[in-house]
Each structure stands twice: as structure tokens, then as C-alpha cells.
């Protein structure tokens, strides 16, 4: 009869977010270990509660299979060292080895018999290893021990259950000895009790106020919450993440519902939801008629004599304090929003975006100008885009976002709306952050797109300017995300924006702020120097009263200073402006030179993005090498057409033909030390196939050039495909390297023409295979 195995690891409270994975890890690590040690089993399931990880294995074999292993060793006349080595590796003594005659002489053989081992022994061994090597995201030590677990581990239940009873697996780790007992709910049933099987365990736990299965706790909460809400004509706002978390915080879920006080009902639903979820892990309860959040559901871990009244009252009190804060923030923010948001603008002037990139407000000004520039390319009204950019970041200074950073953007939308700004502007305040990830939705409202692009390009330009590029896994300013955002915004909306243009506009904005800073600094310094001058003059005037020598000096200095005073503004300004011009020129050109590097960063992100969509990296490389590669829409169209082309038979064969032609040409060019780019002439053609390829090239060119101008890559490539047969025929019929030098040169020039034409469509040399 095959025994069942039951293991419970009982500890202090395991973080909710780790429980499900830990149960799964326990199952796979244990069963893998058991199987590896030669046991079999018919089924296994793992469970978790806040205080326990549990594994139930069914139909475990009683013993591992006996294993007989034969190993061939050295010859019996081999040197002593070799024989000793063999003995060590097999763990046998010399007299235990067998001698067998082989063709090349007598050879030692080790026959190692591993008898089957008892399941209990294997379970103990594997369990010890699994506990010591358990992959917790974070683990800790406690007391004086050195064992690591997620929180202190208190007891272990480990049973092999047979028809005739349960056997405790002899197992001990760091002073914890496995037994057949566990404990129930921390407050309802703290006493230890023993169990004899998994069914017995689960049933007794339930009597001890512990629901073993997370799924069951979740469904109980879901059901009870829905029932409570329904009874008052309300509904629960679904939140699976929160549900899973809450189910991991309780062993005995008791669902309680309370009402949100009248005074808080006017708060935006998202604010109520966020506050309740983040601070208290409450579910929101909605009125389906009005959409308002009118209640909350909290899940306690205990049944009380007063049916939760004390608990509910306590929770309501905490909620009141939290929502009072939220309401204070909301009202305060609305006041600022409806009075021009000046306070927030002023605030952004004093917040540093990055110490080398100026204040948040400078950033806003740059983004505003850039949004205006980009707007026409994405179909947005430039004025609206500028207005949207100006308010988009203001909510960062609002009290609400200060408290709940995750509401940034959303609050901006509310506040812009409250301020009576156009709806496009309000929407952009929320949407301009998007997309945040590879699967995030991309905004399509033109104003939002313009601001979103400007925001991201400004970030990229800025951090490129100060050489803070991502390295390896480090990307503290989320520049990869910004780059992917630019890519997805452009591709999704098919916006034809040359990145070089946007970048140079952005560089212009940075240069302008650089000039302003430089001018201010220079003026301060010069004015300081001038102050010294005046002090000196004052001192001389004072001294002149006592001595005529000083009065001479004073005259000299005075004339100097007076002259400066008269011409001060003009002179100094001129001086400063020329310095500014020089410095900004240098700054501008150094930023401009960084464009290729930034573009190649964008291209790298694009490759990753397209690879996820099934386009090969060499196909992308072939298109990246083409002009206009900073127009991502164009680039992708070309890549898609090329990928499709290469999937056709003509495409694949043409590629081979092209490679052959290009190789022949490259070899000849290397050998002759010249580049064959002179026009080939059909009059030197010797074969029909050779004449045919001239005709085919004329025809292809006539199709390809206009197609390329129309950016009709499909057409261009199908024209290329038409070259395949004539090219194959030509290469088969004609020997390029003929002794006749004139014919040879002509053929090489012909190949050159083919190469050039192909390369006009895409850089096929980059294609692998």
C-alpha cells in the first residue's frame, strides 16, 4: 500500500504576497527531490495560510527502487595510483572488486548495489534540503540560530500516512523536531492538536478556525462581501489583486461592511478607492445607480462576541482620519486649481528635476515649446498642446499627489477640468504619462500624443546631454521606458516625425535655458567685480581727503570708473552676450553630436520591440542601414515589407543571388583594388542571359525608383523579385571572371549595378543565411 505524505511548516506570519509562490515552490522542490531520489507519487497539492505552508502528496512509493550499477575500472595490472583512484571513486575495497577478462586483458569491475531506501529517510533528507535552500524573495535569521526562513519557523508536522496509521517522519532541523501536531487560529484555537491524515488535518483546522485553502478563503470573502453589499443595493468594486492579498492576511475571514460618511462622498471615486486600498486594504462598495463609492468592506481575522461591532467601529475611525486628510487635500487642491494654479507653478520653480537639468518648471517650459513643435506632426492643435504641456505636471505639487503618488495625472485631469480648461487639455494631463510599459495602452488623442512625445524626448535629450545613459541593468531615470514610449506612440499612431527634427528642437530648448543660466551667472560675476571697483573708489575718495597723492590716484580711477558707469550696461551686456554666444554654441554643438548615439539607443529599443512582434533582428538591421532611419514609421514599414519579402520563395532566392553577386564583386574589387561602379554596357554582353539581365534591370529600376519615392516598399520588393530569374540565369550562363578583360570589367560593373539597386531597397548584406 502506498502511503500519503503530509508536511506542514508552521511559522510566524508570512507576507501575503509571497504565500502562493511559496506553496508552489514547496510542491515542486519537494516532489522533484523525491522523484530524483527514486520515489514515485500519484499526486501532490500545496496550500498556504498566513502562518503555514502545507504539502500533501498522495500515493508515494514506500521505498525507492533498488539500483545496481556496474562501473568499469582500470586493468588489474594498472599502476597502484589508478587502482586507488578507482576505489575512492566507487567507495569499495579492493576485495569487493570483480576481475573480468576482456580483450585487452583483465579489468577491474565495481558492482555497486544500492538497495531501495525507505520513503521516510528520503523525505527527511529532501525536506532538510528544501528548507535550507528555500527560494524566499527575502529571508531572515532569528534568535541565536543560523537557519533562514521568511519569518521564524516554529514547528514542522511531517507524516507518512498508511492504512494502519500515521508515522511521524524522523526529522530535525535547528532544534525543531517534526511531529504530528499543529495549532489552530492564533486567538480562536491556540492549543496544539494531533492529526492522522490530510483529511483529518484539514477538517480539524477548520474546527480550529483555519481555512486551509486560499481559494476557499478568497471565495468566502468574495461571496460574503457581495452578499453584504447586495443587501443594501450596492456592489463591490472588483479587485482581484486586493482579494488575493486579503485572503493571505487571514486564516478565518470575517467580512464586515461599513458606510462612508456623507461628508466624504463628494471625493473622486479613485481617491476613495486608493486611500482605502493603500492604507487599509478595504474593498470599495459602489452604488450601481450613481457610480459613487458609498461603503467599504474590511476583512477581519476573528469572530467576536459583538459580531465585529468593535472592529468595524475601529476601522471606521481610522478611515475617517484618512478620508479627512484626503478631503483636506482635495479641497485645498481645488482652491489652487480654480485660481490659476499659480501656487503649483511657483512650486515647480523650486523643485529640482535634476541638479544638472534645472527645475521642474524649466522642464515644463521645454516640454511646452516642444509639444507645440511636434503638434502638427501628430494632428494636434499647437496652442492646445502647449497649454496641455503647461498644466500636465502641475498636479505633482498638489497635496493629493503628494499623498498618493499613484494618482499623478489622474488628479491633473480632475484639476484641469475643475479649472475650466478645454477637455483635450485635461485628458492630456492624465494621458501624457502613457505608455508606461510594453503592454500599456497608447493614447490616441492628438494633444495627449504631442505632450507625451515631447515629455519623453525631453527626458531623453536631457539625460543624454549629461551623459546619464542606462548601463546594464541600471536605468534609474527609466530612459528605456521613455524610448519605448516614443516608439510606441509613433508607431501606433503612424506619426511621421523625423526624430532628428524633434531632437534638434529639444536641443534648442535646452540651449536656450543654458544661455539664460549662463547669462545670469556671468552677470552676477561681473557685477561683483564692479562692486569691488566701486569699493576701491570709495576708499580712495576717503583717503584723498588726507593726502594729495591719493587725490591723483582717485582722479585716475574715477575717470576709469565713471567711464564704466556710463557705458556699463552697454559694455557689460556686449561682453556677456558674446560670451553667451560662444558658450551656447559649444553647448549646442556638443548636444547635436550626441544624436547618433541616442538614435542608436532608440533603434536598440525598437529592435527589442519588433522582435517581440516576430521581426528578425537582421531584417531590422538591413533597414536601419537605410537613409531616413530616424523616421520610425518608415523604418518599420520597410522592415515589415522586407520580412514579408524574405518569406517568399522569390525573396529567398533573390537574396542568395544578391549575395553571390555581391561576393563575386567584393572579391574582384579586393583583388583589383578598384571599385566597380562604372555603368555596364549591354554591347559587351556575350550571352542572351546577359542581355536579358540588362533589360530586367532597366525594367526593375523603372519600377523601384518611383515606388521608393512613394515609400511603397512592397512594390519595390516585388520589382526586385522580378530580378531573381534573370539574375540566376545570368550567373549560371556567364563566367564573370573571363580572360577577356573588357567583358570581365563590364560584368563586374553589371554586378555593381545590381548591388546598388538592391541596396536602394534595403541593406541585404545585413541579412543572415
Amino acid at each position: 500500500m502506498m502511503p500519503d505524505l503530509l508536511i506542514e511548516l508552521f511559522s510566524e506570519e508570512i507576507p501575503a504576497r509571497m504565500q502562493a509562490k511559496a506553496a508552489e515552490d514547496l510542491r515542486t522542490l519537494m516532489t522533484d527531490g523525491l522523484v530524483e531520489a527514486g520515489l514515485t507519487y500519484s499526486g501532490a497539492a500545496a496550500f498556504s495560510t498566513p502562518r503555514r505552508l502545507v504539502l500533501a502528496v498522495e500515493g508515494l512509493s514506500d521505498q525507492s527502487r533498488a539500483v545496481r550499477e556496474e562501473r568499469k575500472g582500470p586493468r588489474t595490472d594498472a599502476p597502484e595510483a589508478a587502482v586507488q583512484g578507482f576505489l575512492r571513486s566507487t567507495g569499495l575495497a579492493l576485495e569487493q572488486l570483480e576481475r573480468r577478462a576482456e580483450k585487452k586483458g583483465e579489468v577491474f569491475f565495481a558492482v555497486i548495489e544500492k538497495p531501495g531506501r525507505a520513503a521516510a529517510e528520503i523525505v527527511a533528507e529532501v525536506l532538510g534540503r528544501v528548507i535550507r535552500e528555500f527560494p524566499w524573495p527575502k529571508s531572515m535569521r532569528w534568535g541565536s540560530g543560523s537557519l533562514r526562513w521568511v519569518r521564524p519557523l516554529h514547528s514542522i508536522l511531517c507524516l507518512l500516512v498508511r492504512e494502519d496509521g500515521a508515522e511521524v517522519v524522523p526529522f530535525e532541523i535547528e532544534g525543531i523536531t517534526a511531529g504530528n501536531t499543529t495549532r489552530g487560529h492564533r486567538f480562536h484555537a491556540p492549543e496544539a492538536f494531533s492529526v492522522v491524515s490530510f483529511e483529518d488535518y484539514e477538517a480539524k483546522l477548520k474546527r480550529a478556525h483555519v481555512v486551509l485553502r486560499a481559494e476557499e478563503r478568497r471565495e468566502r470573502i468574495r461571496h460574503d462581501a457581495a452578499t453584504l453589499a447586495f443587501a443594501r443595493g450596492l456592489e463591490i468594486v472588483e479587485d482581484e489583486g486586493l482579494l488575493a492579498e486579503v485572503a493571505g492576511l487571514v486564516e478565518w475571514p470575517v467580512t464586515l461592511m461599513g458606510a462612508i460618511e456623507e461628508q466624504f462622498l463628494e471625493l473622486p471615486a479613485e481617491v476613495l478607492q486608493t486611500s482605502m486600498k493603500e492604507h487599509q486594504k478595504f474593498f470599495s462598495v459602489r452604488n450601481p445607480g450613481t457610480g459613487r463609492i458609498e461603503g467599504f468592506v474590511t476583512v477581519a481575522n476573528i469572530e467576536t462576541p459583538d459580531d465585529g461591532a468593535t472592529i468595524l467601529a475601529g476601522n471606521a475611525k481610522v478611515l475617517r482620519a484618512r478620508l479627512s486628510d484626503a478631503r483636506f487635500f482635495w479641497e485645498n487642491d481645488l482652491r489652487v486649481a480654480t485660481s490659476g494654479m499659480e501656487e503649483w507653478k511657483e512650486g515647480l520653480r523650486h523643485v529640482t528635476f535634476h541638479n544638472k537639468l534645472g527645475s521642474q518648471w524649466e522642464r515644463v517650459e521645454r516640454i511646452r515649446a516642444l509639444s507645440q513643435e511636434i503638434a502638427p506632426f501628430v494632428g494636434a492643435d499647437p496652442e492646445l498642446a502647449a497649454q496641455a504641456a503647461e498644466v500636465a505636471k502641475l498636479d505633482l505639487r498638489s497635496s493629493m499627489v503628494g499623498e498618493f503618488p499613484e494618482l499623478q495625472g489622474l488628479m491633473g485631469r480632475y484639476y484641469a477640468g475643475a479649472a475650466g480648461l478645454p477637455p483635450e487639455v485635461a485628458v492630456a494631463a492624465e494621458e501624457h504619462y502613457s505608455p508606461l510599459g510594453p503592454n500599456d495602452e497608447v493614447p490616441n488623442a492628438p494633444v495627449s500624443v504631442a505632450v507625451a512625445l515631447a515629455d519623453k524626448i525631453d527626458t531623453l535629450t536631457g539625460f543624454w546631454a549629461i551623459d546619464e545613459k542606462p548601463t546594464g541593468s541600471k536605468d534609474p531615470f527609466a530612459l528605456r521606458r521613455a524610448a519605448l514610449g516614443v516608439i510606441r506612440l509613433l508607431l501606433t499612431g503612424e506619426h511621421r516625425l523625423r526624430i532628428v527634427d524633434a531632437y534638434m528642437s529639444s536641443v534648442g530648448e535646452f540651449s536656450e535655458r543654458y544661455a539664460a543660466r549662463f547669462r545670469a551667472d556671468a552677470r552676477t560675476e561681473i557685477m561683483q567685480a564692479y562692486e569691488h571697483y566701486r569699493t576701491l573708489k570709495g576708499t580712495l575718495a576717503h583717503l584723498a581727503q588726507s593726502s594729495s597723492i591719493y587725490s591723483f590716484l582717485l582722479q585716475d580711477y574715477s575717470s576709469l570708473v565713471e567711464e564704466d558707469v556710463r557705458e556699463e550696461n552697454e559694455q557689460i551686456s556686449k561682453l556677456i552676450e558674446s560670451a553667451v554666444k560662444f558658450a551656447v554654441g559649444r553647448y549646442h554643438s556638443s548636444l547635436s553630436k550626441k544624436f547618433p548615439d541616442l538614435l542608436s539607443f532608440l533603434h536598440d529599443r525598437l529592435k527589442v520591440h519588433l522582435r517581440d512582434q516576430g521581426i528578425r533582428h537582421d531584417v531590422i538591421d538591413a533597414c536601419l542601414a537605410m537613409p531616413g532611419n530616424d523616421d520610425l514609421v518608415l523604418l518599420v514599414r520597410r522592415a515589415e515589407a522586407l520580412a514579408a519579402f524574405l518569406k517568399t520563395e522569390d525573396g529567398e532566392n533573390l537574396l542568395q543571388g544578391f549575395k553571390r553577386a555581391a561576393n563575386l564583386l567584393a572579391q574582384a574589387e579586393a583583388k583589383d583594388g578598384v571599385e566597380y561602379s562604372f555603368g555596364a554596357d549591354p554591347k559587351w554582353a556575350e550571352y542572351d542571359e546577359e542581355r536579358a539581365i540588362f533589360a530586367a534591370l532597366d525594367a526593375a529600376e523603372a519600377r523601384i525608383r518611383p515606388a521608393m519615392e512613394r515609400e511603397d516598399f512592397g512594390e519595390a520588393m516585388s520589382a526586385l523579385a522580378a530580378l531573381r530569374a534573370p539574375l540566376d540565369a545570368f550567373l549560371t550562363a556567364a563566367q564573370v571572371n573571363t580572360p577577356n578583360q573588357v567583358v570581365r570589367r563590364n560584368r563586374l560593373n553589371l554586378l555593381s549595378r545590381i548591388r546598388r539597386l538592391c541596396l536602394e531597397v534595403a541593406d541585404l548584406t545585413k541579412i543572415e543565411g
Partner: protein, 310 residues
């Protein structure tokens, strides 16, 4: 059901006698300005090294940025923490903790007590640990931490640390909505005093001081001084030439580290530290804390045994 305390001080007294009954040395507050009870050398330094330790104490704590001129119902720039540190952490620490709730009138059969994941980290002390915040009916009433590292040193053995935010806890137990209304002594007494009678004015004064009046140049200078002094104290040779004894200045140096930390908090409240500078300042304090920890483990209290290999 446990009988309910009637005043703020009764809650403190009950915690004191509870933890005394569980074998803790009841220490007094540290006589310096600190941001939290953890800064008391009885926690920070004593969590280091191999020697056993059990202490409990009230620690007045200052968080200059939390000043609200005494108007906010539960935010104060000066408040009290109750701190327990036991090394090695005993296996029944959770039960001991729940017993302390019972002692101050929180009946665990009537309330919903939960241990919610909250990993503690103090960037200024170079310390971290795993544990929970303890919720009572949805309100955080304590912080429960198993120290793993302090001052960059692994804690062996591990200390268990409990921190109670006394005002918030007391307001909850006494059923009050505003901290200033809380009875400090017994309300039945001839001269009843509320928390507000004692602290409303000081909250106003310190809020104004912390936000507007504190001289930032002086604060910066003092920060530098404390930093220099701390390093200097740790650089003196181990053996005192006067007594001929090995006397390492771990505690006096740590005082300077505490000072630097508080000065940084004040500078922060005055709004003169930018986001980027912030990290640099925290790093400077952490470097001091680490040096002090290095020094402490070389002292007798830090587990150093004379003659043993370093």
C-alpha cells in the same frame, strides 16, 4: 476583559511594569534629540555583538518635518515611542507582544489584530530587518522587527525589536479623536492635565522654529562639526595613555552621529536640502553610524573578549 487605562501616563506605566515583569531592564530615555527610539544606544549599539540584552524604555522622538503647530489631531514634531529590544529574540516574542496589548486594555478576543508585512529599513543607520506592522482594527499600533543588520554588521544573534507609537496607541485605547485632548494624568485627579496642556505651546514654538527660525547656516556648520568630531573620536588610539586601559570612544562618537542625524532632519524641515543632496547627507550619517558600529563591536559591551583574536 482587561480594565481600561484612563490616561496617557497609565498606558506608559502599564507597559513599563509589563515589560519589567517579562525581565526587561527598564531604561530611561536617552538624553539627546533623536528621530526614533531605535537611535537610543540601547537599541542601535546593543543590537550589535554577541551579548544577550533585554531593555525597554520610553524615548521622546523628534521629527521636525511633522510639526503642525499642534493643530493636527495626530501629527506632532515631538512625540513618544515605547521601545523594547530583546537579544536573542525569544521564540515567544509575538505572544509576549500580544500580552502587552492585553496589559494596556486591548482585549485580543474583541479586536482584530494582524501582522502585516513591513520590512524595516533605516538608511541613516545602515540597518534593516524583517517583520510587520501590527494592526489593531485597521490601525497600525506597533512596529515589530527582527534586526538583520545594523551599522552594516550582520546581527548575530538577532534582536527582536518592538516599537509602539504611544500617542496613537493611547488615543485608540482611550477613544479620543485629537491628541491634544488626551488626558495625560488621571482625569479624576485634583489637577488634571491634558496632552495639550503640556505640549500645545511647545508644538507651536518648535513648528515655527523648525520650519522658519532655525538658522540654517548654523545647522550646516554644526552638522559638519558633529561629523568631524565623530571621526576624530573614533580615530583616537584604543589605549588611554592616562589610565593605561583600552577605552574605545564608541558611545561619545555615536552621540555625534545622533547629533548629525538630528541636524540633518532640521535642515530637511527648513527645506534647504534638495532631493539629490538628501541622499548624500543620509550617506554621510550612515557612514558615521557604520564607524560607530565598527568601534562598538570592538568594545567589551560589543562582545569583544580581551586577548581573543580580532
Amino acid at each position: 476583559m482587561a480594565d481600561l487605562p484612563r490616561s496617557f501616563q497609565e498606558i506608559i506605566l502599564r507597559l513599563q511594569s509589563y515589560w519589567a515583569s517579562k525581565g526587561c531592564a527598564i531604561l530611561q530615555p536617552y538624553d539627546m534629540e533623536v528621530g526614533a527610539g531605535t537611535f537610543h544606544p540601547a537599541t542601535t549599539l546593543r543590537a550589535l555583538g554577541t551579548k544577550s540584552w533585554a531593555a525597554a524604555y520610553v524615548q521622546p522622538s523628534r521629527r521636525p518635518t511633522d510639526g503642525r503647530y499642534g493643530e493636527n489631531p495626530n501629527r506632532l514634531q515631538h512625540y513618544y515611542q515605547y521601545q523594547v529590544l530583546i537579544k536573542p529574540s525569544p521564540p515567544d516574542l509575538q505572544d509576549l507582544y500580544l500580552g502587552s496589548l492585553d496589559a494596556i486594555g486591548i482585549d485580543t478576543r474583541m479586536h482584530d489584530i494582524r501582522f502585516v508585512e513591513d520590512d524595516w529599513e533605516s538608511p541613516t543607520l545602515g540597518a534593516w530587518g524583517l517583520g510587520w506592522e501590527v494592526w489593531c482594527d485597521g490601525m497600525e499600533v506597533s512596529q515589530f522587527t527582527y534586526f538583520q543588520q545594523v551599522g552594516g554588521h550582520d546581527c548575530r544573534p538577532v534582536s527582536g525589536e518592538l516599537t509602539y507609537g504611544l500617542e496613537r496607541l493611547a488615543m485608540y485605547v482611550l477613544g479620543l479623536a485629537h491628541v491634544m485632548e488626551m488626558p495625560f494624568n488621571d482625569p479624576q485627579t485634583p489637577i488634571p492635565l491634558t496632552y495639550g496642556d503640556i505640549f500645545r505651546q511647545t508644538e507651536e514654538e518648535y513648528s515655527r522654529h523648525n520650519f522658519d527660525a532655525a538658522d540654517t547656516e548654523r545647522l550646516l556648520r554644526h552638522f559638519e562639526d558633529a561629523e568631524t568630531e565623530c571621526r576624530k573620536l573614533l580615530a583616537v588610539e584604543d589605549v588611554d595613555p592616562k589610565t593605561g586601559k583600552r577605552i574605545i570612544l564608541a558611545h561619545p562618537a555615536y552621540d555625534q552621529c545622533i547629533k548629525a542625524s538630528h541636524l540633518f532632519n532640521l535642515l530637511d524641515a527648513r527645506g534647504v536640502i534638495s532631493v539629490t543632496e538628501r541622499q548624500a547627507y543620509i550617506g554621510r550619517v550612515r557612514a558615521l553610524a557604520k564607524l560607530c558600529a565598527d568601534a562598538f563591536v570592538r568594545t567589551e559591551a560589543g562582545g569583544h573578549v580581551e586577548g581573543a583574536a580580532a
